[in-house]
Amino acid sequence: MRSVLADLFYRNAESFPDKEAIWCDGKTVTYKEMAALVSRYSNLLISLGVKYCDHIAIPMNNSIESVALFFAAADLGVCVVPLNPSLPFEAIKSAMDAGDIKHVIARRAFFAECEKNGGLYIDGFSICLDQEYPGTVSFDTINSMSSERPEISYDVDGSESLILTMTSGSTGTPKPIDISQQNKYDRSVAHVRVYNITKDDRILAATPLYHSLAERLVILPLIIGATSVLLPRFTPAIWLKCVEEQKPTFTIAVSAQLAQILETLKKPDAPKITSFRCIVSSSALLESAVKYELIDLLQCEFHEMYGASEVSTVTDICFQTAKNKQNSVGLPFDEAQIRILRDESESDFDTDCAVGEVGEIAVKSKLQCKGYYRQETMMQAAMFEGYFRTGDLGYLDEDGYLYFAGRKKEIIITGAINVYPHDIDVVIGRIPEIEECAAFSYPDDRLGEVVALAVVAKEDEEINIRSLKTYCARNLADFQQPHKIFVLDKLPKNTMGKLQRMAILDYIRESGIEES
């Protein structure tokens, strides 16, 4: 038995060898060429000794080779662990530990940075994607590999982990979301059904491939014989140029990107975009004004979805058809069931909220991930009677439509990236002059939210803002950088002394404290 994902892809390569499989950064590859690349990649991994269910880490950028790696991994029953290349060394190391990494594929700069910091202990092989680096195998070796799909002597039944998506949690320890091959397949099938995606679609992925959204948007087209359009990097101008030239018909975009795209689309010299039949907004709630202007300008079906990486997409709404539900995020997918849970402390046994009552959104879905890799207790802690607690607040109306009402979890969503403030607190808290600190969400027109930081100095100590910024630059990833820093004399806390992170912004505004 072989991988269903890989089988479907290879079948498409046989059926439509000359069809465009993927476009990225000015380069187009047909199905026949992509199949040869995937096979070469598989043969390279086999030649280096990869074993069934091994984990391979890759600081991943958006490229055709990265997509080929997903399919090679599926075919061999191994797991890819995409990492954000901007992670500082310490975070890379903990991600490697949490992800049980055996092999690494990376660029030269990554290996050099690791060596500078004392090195990584890698049990298996290392592949250098660009140039040569001591102790690694050059990616160019792939050219000497056979372009025939390799034979394997074991079954790949779909239960194998295909991707571990790294998120962080309240402890600062990464929580690897474990997505099996079967999960990926089921999620693709559900999206194909809901959005009527066919092999004639050209599907645009415009977020980084180390996010589950882009992974979904590149794997899906290749298993149904459609075309993947992969944006190498996002700016509104690059997106518009790509859309104008590549004419995608379907995309799931993140709301922060859509707001920026709208600004560019409204400029007098902006091109007219007519290729889309359907656009879905995801990640965070899209502002109504942005939504209606985009509907007007793009002239296509416009949807919004709600979901989480652990449970995939949960609800969807099409604004043109659900005319009297414009503030909702829609009805559940067939695979998902929703409960709205009342705060446990307020209820002894009946924990479900009434219609219209706000509570925590909990989801039971056939699309749920395998769990958090090797962190079963964390997954169990997030579950309630078989439902995954999303940490988001919302309510259901009398017709079962879900409405998003904010976040219970202390999380900052900047661009489309989830930032866990506690991770930042831990790193900043190590600075000797700092008594206490808290990262918090600050509203931003462009990114929706940005990271802000409140710091309190120890008695008789002074905080040097420039040194603090340098420390952040060197010890936090780019998405964790505080865009605003406030020096306070205390942090807002409740009567029990617990930090009230969500109250920091109001505290600063009410106290008239200026940014440092």
Binding site: N61, P85, S86, A109, D130, P232, R233, F234, T235, A237, I238, T414, G415, R446, L447, R466, K469, T470, C472, A473, R474, L476, D478, F479, Q481, P482, H483
Partner: protein
């Protein structure tokens, strides 16, 4: 290669290598998505620390800041004028 240019390229090419054959004096690495607004915050702090300089708001907002050649020129002048 000069240390200033090496440092700039090290950061700009952290995720993606710049295309071959471009003019580093005119190629806008921000407009072309090599460093985004989140990366810029980090980039500025690292450059200020590495070269012991401080950029003005005008410099940060200038077109020069967004090209490798232009940024190199700004840094070089600031070091000379210290």
């Amino acid at each position: 290669m000069d240390e200033i240019r090496t440092k700039i390229l090290e950061f700009v090419e952290r995720e993606y290598k710049l295309p071959d054959g471009i003019d580093l004096d005119t190629y806008d690495f921000v407009e072309n998505g090599y460093v985004d607004s989140m990366g810029l915050v980090q980039f500025v702090a690292i450059l200020e620390d590495d070269f012991d300089i401080e950029f003005t708001k005008d410099e940060l907002l200038s077109d020069e800041f967004k090209t490798v050649g232009g940024l190199e020129k700004i840094i070089r002048e600031k070091i000379q004028n210290k």
